[in-house]
């Protein structure tokens, strides 16, 4: 089966511009997650979709970040306007089941650089 696909793999934008990241989960996975790793630090949770609904968005840093999952398939994460501190690697993951004992399948990430 195809894995979790993210694109672009790299994006370099200027401060103040807008960037949209896309994630295609594994087909049939209702659960979709966004995480990010900033400046070599830990990977942190951003939000969790169940189908098209936001189950948990407690990790979203501020209102410059907007995540959508229309139709419950692919998801987009828009950063508008981008700031320097938004640079990092954004990972998407999906899973069929939820709960503390289940792992996720992660994508290869989008490396975002804001200059």
């Amino acid at each position: 089966e195809a894995g979790v696909t993210q694109f672009p793999s790299h994006s370099v934008i200027e401060k103040g511009q807008t960037v949209t990241l896309r994630c295609d989960p594994i087909s049939g996975h209702d659960n979709l997650y966004w995480y990010r790793r900033v400046m070599g630090k830990e990977i942190k949770f951003l939000l969790h979709f169940v189908k098209e609904s936001k189950q948990d968005e407690s990790g979203m840093p501020n209102n410059r970040f907007l995540a959508e999952r229309t139709g419950g398939t692919y998801s987009t994460l828009k950063v508008q306007p981008a700031e320097l501190e938004d640079s990092g690697v954004y990972f998407c993951a999906s899973s069929q089941a939820t709960g503390p004992t289940n792992g996720y399948t992660f994508g290869s990430g989008t490396r975002l650089t804001v200059v």
Binding site: G3, V4, S9, N31, Y33, Y35, R37, G40, K41, E42, I43, K44, F45, H48, Q55, D56, G59, F91, A93, T98, G99, P100, T101, G103, Y104, T105, F106, G107, S108, G109
Partner: protein
């Protein structure tokens, strides 16, 4: 609150030697512990997990990890390192539907 510490940013080991990547955790409730690996230009790949039972967990690519409750540790080990094991390793604890990751350890296996 949940947290994971990976005290070493970088670990170097000679090919054929045993390797250890350290991880300690802090969690309220039962610890559900995971190791993921990221090879260059690849996604995070699941290696192994501890949920309950035997403290020694075996995973992919010959890796294993030992759960130590008294030391709150979950160190990743492999008896004989390969050059192809060079990658970024992340320890994580899962609470509910969220992973709490460490900062990662870059492993370099020297031929």
């Amino acid at each position: 609150a949940q947290s994971v510490a990976q005290p070493e940013d970088q670990v170097n080991v000679a090919e054929g030697n045993p390797l250890t990547v350290k991880c300690t955790y802090s969690v309220s409730g039962n610890p559900y512990l995971f190791w993921y690996v990221q090879y260059p230009n690849r996604g995070l790949q699941f290696l192994l997990k501890y949920i309950t039972g035997d403290n020694l967990v075996k995973g992919s690519y010959g890796f294993e990890a030992e759960f130590n409750k008294s030391q709150t540790s979950f160190h990743l080990k492999k008896p004989s390192a390969l050059v192809s094991d060079s990658a970024l390793y992340f320890c994580a604890v899962k609470a509910g539907n969220q992973f709490y990751f460490g900062t990662g350890t870059s492993l370099t296996v020297i031929p």
